[in-house]
């Protein structure tokens, strides 16, 4: 059913369609509307047989999800920014214990200085935590990704984080197609884990692991996640078959055929980039876009193929590490060697990314700088 909905509401609906048994969260901007929406769906009975728990912190939010998931029921939480950092210990814990929790990350930067606006710093802080991570470009994709997320997580026994740009998507009203409950039920089977806290078959979860085994534990986790690339692909394909909509998977290409310059980005900024490409290509430029959806596991081979013909790669990235620079651009270097890769740090702390900025940036030639900061106010910098 087509609806005009706020992104957060669309995500809440998607979650409800997945019939989680436990939803728990702690409020943090810009994630709040998602859990408010879920809370209402639970209270109204639209999402039935679901425990909605107001916890006292993000640490508790993910911990409750760890508990309920370990007890064998589908569990969901959502957070942003500082909240993710506050629960970070549990983030690693959930993946280490192979608990297929799904979490929405309403992307927001990390303080100090405190700032509630969007960038991908929070997501990047968890990029090595063993979770699978997907970035939504639109609210439709956010909705679709959440439905796929449970299936991916439960099939691979690996938690999944769906990253949705805070405010830009979470607070934006857009047209979304919400599938019916029957459709989702057909796609996402009832969750019945092999391993859980079961009095009939008592197991201990979360054992201490000594140096004798720890490396193997981590190695296996790595191999499993790399293997999960197949699962992600097939689930995305299955989603397309069932819902007649391309969603999820690894990346989305736009005007890539014959493109000399390929822009790589994650999340909602792809929309604005597309507008810029349309305009520039109309004037004879050969620019394409590669919007990366699946960030973890990092689909290096798939990226390599997609970027094979590009002469220049511009990575528009919404987060960077102080002391080294962009994350994504460095990871792209893993996928493709010997190409000019420019890192464009953009939209940090909610700074607007406008068409004019991007246009200028894409057209810049003979660039000596491998890292650029889009829309940096030189005046302020000089004053400092």
């Amino acid at each position: 059913m087509l609806c005009q909905l706020e992104g957060s509401q669309a995500i809440a609906r998607a979650i409800a369609l997945c019939r989680p048994k436990v939803v728990c969260a702690y409020p943090i901007t810009p994630q709040t509307h998602i859990v408010e929406g879920l809370g209402e769906l639970v209270r109204s009975g639209e999402l039935s047989e679901c425990e909605f728990i107001n916890v006292e912190s993000e640490m508790a939010a993910l911990s409750v999800a760890i508990g309920s998931e370990a007890a064998g029921v589908r569990s969901y939480t959502a957070t942003s920014s500082q909240g993710l950092l506050y629960m970070m210990e549990a983030v690693y814990n959930a993946s280490g214990m192979e608990l297929p929790i799904v979490m929405t990350l309403g992307n927001r930067t990390i303080g100090a200085p405190i700032n509630i606006w969007n960038d991908h710093s929070d997501a990047m802080s968890a990029r090595d935590a063993g979770w699978m991570m997907f970035f939504a470009e639109t609210n439709q994709e956010a909705l679709d990704l959440h439905i796929q997320a449970f299936k991916i997580a439960e099939k691979t026994k690996n938690p999944v984080m769906i990253c949705v740009d805070g405010f830009i998507l979470t607070h934006a009203y857009e047209r979304v197609d919400i599938p019916s409950q029957e459709e989702v039920d057909k796609f996402l089977p009832f969750y019945s884990p092999e391993v859980c806290l079961d009095i009939e078959e008592p197991l201990a979860m979360g054992a201490m692991v000594s140096p004798d085994y720890f490396m193997e534990v981590r190695y296996i986790a790595h191999i499993k996640q790399m293997k999960a690339i197949e699962t992600i692909g097939s689930i995305s394909e299955e989603f397309f078959q069932k819902f007649k909509r391309k969603s999820g998977g690894f990346l989305r290409e736009y005007e890539i055929d014959g493109a000399e310059t390929v822009i790589v980005s994650m999340g909602s900024v792809a929309g604005t980039i597309k507008e810029v490409i349309d305009e520039l290509n109309a004037n004879g430029e050969k620019i394409g876009l590669l919007s990366l959806i699946c960030y973890r596991p990092f689909p290096a081979d798939i990226l390599n193929k997609a970027l094979k013909n590009a002469k220049k790669i511009i990575v528009v990235e919404k987060a960077f590490a102080i002391g080294i620079g962009g994350f994504l651009s460095r990871e792209i270097e893993l996928a493709i060697k010997d190409k000019e890769i420019v890192s464009v740090i953009a939209g940090i702390g909610g700074r607007n990314i406008t068409r004019s900025m991007l246009k200028e940036c894409f057209l810049q030639k003979n660039n000596n700088q491998s890292t650029k900061f889009l829309g940096l106010n030189e005046g302020i910098i000089e004053a400092q």
């Binding site: 048994k21 436990v22 728990c24 047989e49 679901c50 425990e51 728990i53 107001n54 916890v55 006292e56 912190s57 640490m59 508790a60 939010a61 911990s63 409750v64 999800a65 760890i66 508990g67 309920s68 998931e69 370990a70 007890a71 064998g72 029921v73 569990s75 210990e89 549990a90 814990n93 214990m97 806290l197 079961d198 009095i199 008592p202 197991l203 201990a204 979860m205 979360g206 054992a207 201490m208 692991v209 000594s210 004798d212 085994y213």
Partner: protein, 323 residues
């Protein structure tokens, strides 16, 4: 024969589960606790009692700490029942999650117990514990109180007694061990949440402990049982003296045994014969500096006052029973 021993070959009433040949042994032999570990003993007593009270339907959530480390390290798991360890500070929340899942599955017959040491309970996990209490989640939380961070090498916690010597409160010319102006009382904090049941127990009184656990397990909502577990390593006494030390703590009044329901003390276990705190303290090296020749008598009288206050507050001379 006696009713004060754990078992009695003649009578079947007033004997402990621990004396039963068919006790559940929820924590199996082969665990890696220190010799004479009070916590290992307390865990078996408490969880066995819970197991019996819940007809074997128990799920355990364990905070990081000695108990977790010695009971479950690959490839050996001592637990006979479903058990999960997540983190140091989140056991109450994980338990809330398990409770939510089971409530969702209409399995309220399965009882959930979260457990941790005083470090996780008093300090790092206090937020999650308070949240679990405040939501009145259907979880029994057991704190095994050995009054310091033993797992990491005996550092001070919020449960450390005044004047205790720990690795981070070494007595010197300026300080007589742990600062007496610090510390908190989690049983009282639990009571302040108005949760249905709060109790203190000790391995020095297994009958009492088992009764309290059995009662706690059967109540719905958030419950808190605080068990005093002497630690031979951290407190400095012979491993064979663990139970004796626990008994002394009860007898001197420094560890009062009581029950509280809905925020009010309803019962306390009387002390037969009150002893001076000195008798308890001097049996432990962590207080040895209080008994040196040059030591001031003030710390001892300070601790005696705490004990006296407990005795008065909880009516330990005769015991309270409002049932």
């Amino acid at each position: 024969m006696s009713s004060l021993t754990l078992g009695n070959r003649i009578k079947s009433e007033n004997v402990t589960i621990q004396a039963s040949r068919l006790r559940p042994n929820t924590i199996s032999s082969g665990h890696r606790a220190c010799q004479g570990c009070g916590e290992a003993l307390a865990a078996r007593c408490a969880i066995d009692a819970a197991y019996e009270a819940a007809n074997g339907k128990i799920i355990l959530v364990n905070a990081t700490g000695c108990l977790e480390v010695f009971s479950c390290a690959t490839p050996e798991n001592a637990w006979k029942i479903p058990w999960i360890h997540s983190l140091f500070g989140n056991a109450p929340a994980v338990a809330s999650g398990v409770a939510a899942a089971l409530s969702n599955q209409k399995r309220n017959d399965i009882r959930i117990i979260a457990q941790g040491g005083d470090g996780s309970t008093y300090d790092i996990g206090m937020g999650c514990l308070s949240g679990m209490f405040e939501r009145n989640d259907d979880v029994l939380y057991i704190c095994y109180d050995n009054q310091a961070y033993m797992n990491t090498g005996v550092q001070r916690s919020g449960a450390t007694l005044p004047f205790t010597r720990t690795a981070t409160t070494l007595p010197n010319s300026k300080y007589m061990g742990n600062d007496p102006q610090t510390g908190k009382n989690v049983p009282q904090i639990a009571m302040a949440h108005g949760i249905p049941y709060v109790a203190t127990a000790s391995i020095g009184h297994i009958h009492d402990l088992e009764q309290k656990i059995a009662k706690a397990v059967q109540i719905n909502g958030a419950r808190y049982v605080h068990i005093h577990v002497p630690c031979p390593l951290g407190w400095g006494f012979e491993p064979s003296k663990t139970v004796k030390i626990a008994k002394l703590a009860i007898k001197c009044g420094l560890f009062p045994l009581f029950e509280a329901e809905n925020g009010k003390v309803t019962k306390s276990t009387p002390i037969d014969e009150v002893i001076a705190v000195d008798d308890y303290l001097k049996a432990q090296r962590r207080f040895a500096h209080l008994f040196s020749k040059s030591a001031s008598p003030d710390p001892l009288s300070f601790l005696q006052k705490i004990a006296d206050k407990n005795i008065e507050k909880y009516g330990l001379k005769k015991g309270i029973s409002n049932e």
